[in-house]
């Protein structure tokens, strides 16, 4: 029987590895768009790698979150670092879902204009960044040290909104999700 701690380590390694490759590929996509990189024939390669690894990491994320909750010492969210981990991982999932759904429904149109390319690349990089910050917070929680300690990130401070604000944000987010999805489906069905 695998303990939750071991399962959490395995799943987080999958998540961090996948999102790291994804973020790197999104960075290359952005650099190609900005003409910093001139190898435009590499764009399909980075496009495919970025989205494949993003989906892989996205699939592993729920296992990492759930095993993390099971393996945390004490009862529930007993540390501000654990709360920040939860927020960061959900933020990363949000970016990843948005990027994946856009690429799925809109196809190559996400690379069609400067604005869409910038939005898509930055959202992909934000997903990667959120997941790496989550892993860094995990290292700080377990070993009291992390590679990102040089940034002196305030993991001990929690920005917790009032429940009403969170509820409104949740409804607003669901509304945006539905509207965006319907619009993308309309565009996609014309196509």
């Amino acid at each position: 029987m695998i303990s939750p701690q071991t399962f959490h380590v395995v799943s987080t390694e999958l998540v961090v590895g996948a999102f790291s490759v994804s973020g790197l590929s999104f960075l290359f996509c952005l650099l190609l768009h900005l003409d910093v990189l001139k190898k435009t024939d590499w764009k399909p390669l980075f496009d495919n790698v970025a989205h494949f690894t993003l989906v892989f990491g996205l699939a592993a994320t729920p296992f990492a979150v759930l095993s993390g909750l099971s393996s945390a010492p004490g009862d529930g969210l007993s540390s501000p670092i654990l709360v920040n981990k939860m927020f960061l991982s959900m933020t990363g999932m949000g970016f990843a879902i948005g990027v994946f759904a856009s690429r799925w429904r809109l196809g190559q149109n996400v690379w069609a204009t400067s604005k869409t390319t910038a939005l898509h690349s930055i959202a992909g990089l934000a997903a990667c960044g959120s997941m790496l910050l989550t892993a860094s917070a995990g290292g700080t929680f377990l070993r009291n040290e992390s590679l990102l300690d040089v940034l002196s990130l305030p993991y001990d401070a929690v920005l917790l909104f009032p429940t009403a604000i969170s509820g409104i944000s949740l409804v607003l987010g669901l509304g945006l999700l539905v509207l965006g999805w319907l619009r993308m489906n309309a565009v996609s069905s014309v196509h």
């Binding site: 501000p80 933020t91 949000g94 987010g173 996609s188």
Partner: protein
């Protein structure tokens, strides 16, 4: 790829490989826990990677104890030469096979350790130049027999992880407890933590004890007596003063009854700040709000900014009339309907005396011979 680029790539990869050695160890330690000797941390237990510690480890305790009666096992480590962090980890073990070697595996309970927990592996951070220290555990066995205890040490050094273990076991014999010996109940688990600013009420469960005295001390301080009250049959409560800052104290009980007077080991009680609490519903709600808000924002923005896709080669909707009002459509429909209903003209044209309007309405009848005509 030219030669310079290849050299740069090789140098960069070499730099990454070299720097990885600095990240392989766990200089901050692993934290106190119940650990097997090989699981204590990273590569200290790996014979291919570690070096033998020069530290001298000495275990001491009573050689004979009673079943169910707590006893103290003390480890004294001398000749320590540690890494710059000064972190050192000590194990109390019951064999040296590397697995299933904790006191629990041999039927012993670790009731307390000198760090204020109840773990067989404890860590200390020693000051620079300190070469000697000691650790103690309060353990209890409910079964009789002889158990060999071992101690192991993990620490860093100049470049390698260091490992050491006592060469031979320190035997402790457990014998049956005399019937009338005043003692703590075998079910009693000492409290190891308390919160700041609040006096602590210790509740003791005893057997064959007619009076109980509780003593406590802080490190370097005098031994003090706590007030003890009987709170029921074989139940006693003692009040320890509140701690104003995170620190630890030690306490012990002196039990008197018909049998010989018994003094328990010193138990460690650590004072910590009250645990951090948060309303979990608000956290989960905000987490899901972040998830949906960000995903929704990305999708909504992308769907708004993305151009309409180019028309497909199978898409011929542009060939359809773009504007067709109802009257035009109706007229066209009627016209088509009428033209398809009008009978075809005979080879010689309209019959004599017929006009076009008559033919439109009665042409079929003419062709059917009703008016003297017929198929030609």
């Amino acid at each position: 790829m030219n030669l310079n680029r290849r050299i740069c790539t090789v140098l960069f990869l070499s730099l990454l490989l070299i720097s990885s050695t600095y990240g392989a160890a766990e200089p901050g330690g692993n934290g106190d826990a119940m650990r097997d000797m090989q699981c204590g941390g990273a590569c200290h237990g790996d014979a291919a990677l570690n070096e033998t510690s020069l530290a001298t480890l000495t275990l001491s305790s009573s050689s004979t104890v009673y079943a169910g009666i707590p006893t103290t096992v003390t480890l004294t480590a001398t000749n320590l030469s540690l890494s710059s962090t000064g972190v050192v980890g000590f194990f109390l073990l019951t064999d040296t096979t590397g697995h299933s070697d904790t006191p629990q595996d041999a039927g012993w309970e670790v009731l307390s350790d000198s760090n204020g927990g109840a773990a067989n592996y404890v860590e200390q951070t020693l000051s620079s130049g300190q070469s000697e220290t000691s650790v103690s555990w309060v353990v209890r066995s409910l079964e009789t027999g002889t158990t060999p205890f071992f101690a192991a040490i993990h620490h860093g050094g100049s470049s390698s992880p260091f490992f050491g273990v006592t060469p031979s076991g320190h035997s402790v014999e457990v014998s049956e407890v005399p019937e009338n010996l005043p003692r703590l109940s075998p079910d009693f688990i000492p409290q190891s933590e308390r919160i700041l600013d609040v006096p602590t009420e210790l509740v003791l469960q005893t057997e064959f004890a007619e009076s109980v005295q509780v003593q406590w001390k802080v490190e370097g301080g005098a031994v003090m007596n706590a007030q003890v009250n009987s709170s029921g049959e074989n139940m006693w409560s003692a009040t320890l003063p509140a701690a104003l800052q995170p620190t630890s104290l030690q306490w012990r009980a002196i039990l008197q009854g018909d049998g010989p007077e018994q003094t328990t080991p010193w138990f460690t009680l650590t004072a910590e700040e009250a645990g951090w609490e948060v309303e979990e519903f608000a956290v989960y709600l905000q987490a899901f709000a972040l998830l949906f808000l960000i995903a929704g924002a990305v999708i909504a923005l992308q769907s708004r900014l993305s151009p309409l896709p180019e028309s497909s080669k199978y898409d011929q909707t542009d060939l359809l009339p773009q504007h067709m009002d109802d009257s035009t459509a109706e007229s066209a429909t009627d016209s088509l309907s009428e033209e398809s209903d009008v009978a075809p003209l005979p080879a010689g044209g309209l019959p004599n005396g017929w006009n076009e309007d008559q033919w439109r309405w009665y042409g079929h009848d003419y062709l059917a011979g009703k008016y003297g005509g017929g198929q030609e």
